[in-house]
Structures are given as C-alpha cells and as structure tokens.
Amino acid sequence: MTQQEIEVILARHLAEYLTVPIFMVNPDGDLLFYNEPAEAILGSRYSETGAMPARELAKTFHPMDGEGNPILLEELPIVIALRERRPSHRDLWIRGLDGVSREIEITAFPLVGQADRFLGAIAFFWEIAK
C-alpha cells in the first residue's frame, strides 16, 4: 500500500485541528482531503466525496465569478498554485453539493516539502459574510 508523504500527513493533521476551511490536492490535482469546516461550505462530508480528480472538482462545485460567469479550471487558485507553483488568491462563488451557492475567498499555496519535493497544493478558504 502506498503511504502519503509526511508533509502531507502533517498538513492533514493541522487541517483537522484548525477551524479554518482547508482543502488539499496531490500533484495531479486529485482531491486528497478537506476538513470539517470545509465540509460546511462544500456541502458534503469528505468521507462521502472521497478522492476526486481536479476536473471533477471544478464540475462539482461550479465555480463562478460575481456576475455568474463560469471560471475556467486554470483560473482557480488551487489550479494556479498547482500548475504555476505560486500562491494565488481570489473571490468566487461555488455551489456546494447541498445545492447552496456561497461566495468565498480562497488563498492557495503550493505544497513543497523537504528537498524541494512538490507534493500538491493546499487552499484555505472562507465564506464571505452576507
């Protein structure tokens, strides 16, 4: 059986203890984990969603700008962090799996481990209070 890299395990532990919504993907963009606060915004429990490719993520959560225009996959902060290996931040709307649309702010960072090993990306996000 494969085992996650230690930095990824530690990042998940941190995410499990923080009350800030956090979302993690592996270098291929596949969903690795999101924490309980993120479940409230994404409208689904991680245990029900499970691993999911990046393309599916975009389809699943229907990201849109403030005027209702769809946001391209490559414009999403988590995808920018993953592909360009730099931090990225923006506001956007998503529709959770519970069918509710929410405005959120996302900051995503590439996850780079010891010896410059690229391990994926992590996104911190926040629902904007109405």
């Binding site: 059986m1 085992q3 996650q4 395990i9």
Partner: protein, 284 residues
C-alpha cells in the same frame, strides 16, 4: 544480516546500576551484511564502543543518521575509524531547507560546544544528504538497498528500511506516528512510517513513554510503548524490537512495562526487547 545493538537509550546517556541490562548508551545499531558491508544506524554514545570493535582492516563504513538531535550524533567524534588512515567514512543524513548536512553537524561539532571541528575529524569523511528529491528513491550500499523517508519527529527526521535480498530491517528510533490522531492506529495510507515498516522482518522502533507519560508529552516526537506495539501490528512486521528507552526507565521498569504490553495486546509478531550487546540474526 546481523544486527547488533550498541546503544538503546533515548534522549540522554543513562549509565547506572539500574540500566545495566538494557543499557545506558544512546542510539547506535550496527548492521553487517553477508558480503561484509557494515552499516551503522545513528551515532549516539554507543558508537564509541562500536568503533573500537570494528576490524582494523576496515576500508569503508557508512553511518546513516536519522536526525541530528544530540543523542544521535554525540558519539561521532569518538568513532575510532575516523582516525585510521585509509578508512572511508560516509555519513548520510537529513539536510534542512537552509543548511547542508555538514553545516548542521558543524553547529555541534565546532568550538565552543566541541573542541574539534567536523571538517577536522578525518580527511576521508564524505557527507550525503537525504532524502533525495524523488519519492521512493533507494540508496545502494554494498549488498544493501536502503529506502530513506521522512517520518514524524521534530526537525527533519528520516526512517530507514534496509533491504538485503528479501529481508528487510526498518529503523525508526524517534517516531510519533500517533501525533494528531484521535484514535491510533488509523488508516495505513495516512500513518507515518507505514511504507517503511510494512511487512519487514525486524522493526526497531521508538518505545519511549508509558501511556501516562505520553499524555503530557504529545508532540515531543516519541511513542508510548503501547503505540509502538500497535504500530508493529498495523504494519504486519515479523519481529519488533522496542528501542530508544526513556532515561528514567530502569531495567525493572522496562521488564514490567514490556510484559504488561504483551499481556494487554497479545502481539502477533515476535517481540524482542533491544538491549545493549544483543545481536539478532535476520535472514538475508
């Protein structure tokens, strides 16, 4: 492979009449291969005695450091082969994001903390940084193939899986796989050290604390004896050697704590407590 324990204690050398059976020297294990290659796992205070036992015609020795905490490097300047002309000493260990392995060792091995600088120890000293950039990368040393991966312990710390043909030894002297877990053991995929230990013939693993001690030392980077037994069960090892004993635990304490763990957990593997001077033959 032949595995000999030269130091089994954690944190601080603890020689006394009460630690004479399990030993008072800090982490150091020798691994000898069937073709004569010698590996040394960590350079705690046990390294001094080990160095004196090595054959005088030794040409090369490799020291694999898990990390650079004092109890794992303190024996280094007292390693006799460093002063023998013609002996190549290779030191493998973790770098940091900002300093090389040599620079990190230099912080301890230089005045005023130590009178001799690391670069003056030997002209035939070679440093190698781990882990490599590629996941699952193996180092080949003689008849051994070694997998080095980061494991949970403060500051970058490496666990080793030393493979010889179909035989594997896993060495994780300082390891807290239960850190952050609500229940332990948890999912294998998300357990630190799982890939290194899975199905190995001999697991040498941190067994520093009692359950009670662990409660007030979460995050120190060590396991309770119970957690170590559970990790061994999770990873389906064939034999488990508890290691890195707390300096406060006497021989009698360890006898009692290990017996209690066996009685409570009924391990499916063979449990052999590590003790200074013990040699285990693991098929190779």
């Amino acid at each position: 492979m032949k595995v000999t324990f030269w130091g089994t204690r954690g944190s601080l050398a603890s020689p006394s009449a009460e630690t004479v059976r399990y030993g008072g020297n800090t982490s150091c294990v020798a691994v000898e291969g069937s073709a004569g290659t010698t590996l040394i796992l960590d350079a705690g205070t046990g390294l001094r005695n080990l160095g004196q036992s090595l054959p005088t015609d030794l040409k090369r020795v490799d020291i694999l450091l898990t990390h650079l905490h004092m109890d794992h490097i303190q024996g280094l300047p007292f390693f006799a082969p460093l002063r023998r002309p013609g002996v190549e000493v290779h030191i493998w260990g973790p770098a940091s994001t900002t300093l090389s392995l040599t620079e990190r060792l230099q912080r301890y091995l230089s005045p005023p903390l130590f009178p001799v600088s690391v670069r003056d120890l030997s002209e035939n000293l070679h440093f190698h940084e781990l882990p490599g950039k590629l996941p699952g990368q193996f180092i080949e040393i003689g008849e051994f193939s070694i997998n080095a991966q980061l494991i949970i312990h403060p500051n970058p710390t490496i666990g080793y899986r030393v493979q010889c043909a179909d035989t594997a030894l896993t060495y994780m002297p300082d390891h807290e796989p239960a850190l952050g877990e609500q229940t332990f053991p948890h999912e294998r995929e998300w357990t630190s050290g799982y890939a290194l230990a899975e199905g190995c013939d001999l697991l040498i693993h941190d067994a520093q604390f009692t359950n009670e001690e662990y409660k007030s030392r979460v995050g120190f980077g060590h396991s309770s004896i119970r957690q170590a037994f559970q990790f061994a069960e999770l990873t389906h090892v064939k034999q488990f050697a508890p290691f890195h004993y707390d300096p406060a635990h006497t021989d009698d304490d360890l006898d009692r704590m290990l017996a209690e763990a066996v009685a409570e957990l009924h391990p499916s593997y063979k449990m052999t407590p590590s003790r200074e001077g013990l040699t285990l033959e693991v098929d190779c």
